[in-house]
Symmetry: C2
Subunit: 386 residues, 2 copies
Amino acid sequence: MRNVVIVGAGLTKFGEQWKKSFREMITEAAVSAILDSKLEGKDIEAIYTGTMATGKFIGQEHIGALISDRLGLNPIPSTRLEAACASGSVALKQGYLSIKSGEHDIVAVGGVEKMTEVGVHHASSALGGAGDQETELFHGATFPALYALLARAHMKKFGTTEKHLAQVAVKNHENGVDNPFAQFRNRITIEHVLNSSNVSSPLKLLDCSPLTDGAAGLILMEKQKALDLGLDAVEIVSMAQASDSLALTGRKSLTELNATKQAGKLAYKKAGITAKDIDIAEVHDCFTIAEILAIEDLDFVKKGSGGNATMSGFTAKNGSLPINTSGGLKAKGHPVGATGVAQAVEISQQLLGKADKRQVKGLEYGLTHNVGGSGATCVVGIYRRA
Amino acid sequence: MRNVVIVGAGLTKFGEQWKKSFREMITEAAVSAILDSKLEGKDIEAIYTGTMATGKFIGQEHIGALISDRLGLNPIPSTRLEAACASGSVALKQGYLSIKSGEHDIVAVGGVEKMTEVGVHHASSALGGAGDQETELFHGATFPALYALLARAHMKKFGTTEKHLAQVAVKNHENGVDNPFAQFRNRITIEHVLNSSNVSSPLKLLDCSPLTDGAAGLILMEKQKALDLGLDAVEIVSMAQASDSLALTGRKSLTELNATKQAGKLAYKKAGITAKDIDIAEVHDCFTIAEILAIEDLDFVKKGSGGNATMSGFTAKNGSLPINTSGGLKAKGHPVGATGVAQAVEISQQLLGKADKRQVKGLEYGLTHNVGGSGATCVVGIYRRA
């Protein structure tokens, strides 16, 4: 059995990148990851990139070839994957499988999205493609509205409050202060969140992740080869992906994401561990309610107790299980195709002790949790220092 | 080493499908492939689907989850790949690797595109995303224009004529007559092609593949498992993918597609055979010049002699090396994301002796050749009856 490790990681600054094109951002992240790996471009045998809606955002498809071309890496295979906001993790999973299969020994994985240039209205429409156009977006249900429904259901069933939701944003902004790549590096308070403008009740502006431009890159390698070269390496212990109905109307429950539960369960099983073994995680907090659902559905806390756990500091950087030390999607930003890859960048840096001011000590296992749309795709990865 | 076979194949009718949605077409092809395999939906462990420009064609991304949902196969992983007109083959390759890696034993692969509904102008713009928007489409170079440049270069260097090009279309229409799934089932003559309206000189209307709606599906399985079950099976002996510059301006030569040469060379090497061993092939004839380039770059004929070889009947159904017995992209139609998968459907049916009136006898090895854009991606697959 071949195993796979991460030997390099890189990011662009996340945010509104008016002076950087899609091509420039993915190149910057890839070069940064290659330099971090101490390998060279010529060592890379294939590229897998996740990006969601390039047709609508930049009028361009054929993204795989665009990237190998731009990186000067032709003629190696270069492949683009799309799974809405989980595009990055799906690309990571295919890169991982391509090494496990014996097809490649060294692979670059990228994630990228250039979102802000088209304006908010057009971006909302493009992002709506992550849900069901026929039964949701067409009728006016944009993503804040879909997650607002999930929030309302959770509040009704479990007594989760707007303050609970707000505390997710407060914590993630606190973490973002120490991340030089984050879009927002300002502290906020519960009052800031509660007083921010209404987007789709109960979700307010500061409950929502922003539109973001950005890219992330990873270099994956067959484990033994990396160890032989003495590289700093983080093993991808397991990756699991699950699907659920595209539209909320098809779900059995609105107080959980079944794709998260299924992918989490499978990832734990493949890794031979349980949720209790996870020491740090990056979860998909596209809206504050999403982080509460995630920590429950990943079995970090009991179903229904996510709000209270967040208020108690359980998920804070100095808590029992630090969640989103990068600032998460809320503060680091959410360039949709890049997000899953950026989560693995943060976890790999944490496990290698390279997270600077964000560093958490005593880590063994880390986890990434990346969701597409309102939960129709979920990818969970589990990592450990090799 | 695990090997991979095709155990089921299915298609929708290709053409203008005014009464079938994207969702209905991919469902129809998938169900057809599952029924052909004698397996059941519940046996499938993952789905890989190729589709190019759904954001622009149907306003929908998150295609993986859409498909698993529609097929009633949640929560299995369902993943969408994009490589312009090579999207289908790239999906097939990832399905193949997922079985080789040991991750899965049985996988469904799909290809689909719903193109005609948006109208020709919008479709041309969406398809332009397969080239370089910044240096090509933005300046007015649509795909007929790009391939016209390749045709002119070939004519100038090798004396290829408009009649040579026309004969590709004549042959593929002849083959399409016997394919009940083909968009066009009418014979045409060289005069018809030469007298058809000019699109981008020297390419005329009948040198161009059409806009097409359609879907294709395959069921892949770990070889030993399929043999144990006594299933009719075609082995995927090798698959190789290569990249080249996105824009024509970056190419070293306009009289060859280097991605085809690289992918072909690697596919032959992995299979341990040469071009001489191939008995039948489906190649990417998006324009007539593309088939001439393909048969040269795949080493079926000497560089520069593709036009004469076509005129001589070498590539006809009863020739030495039948090319595009399905009718090819020209007559069968070219629903871009479906094309690569549909090529493998034809080759697998030919190798199993299930190609009805199109059947060629005495086949051992078959090949598929699928190109993205003007040649920035190429995937070559080699197949043999298991």
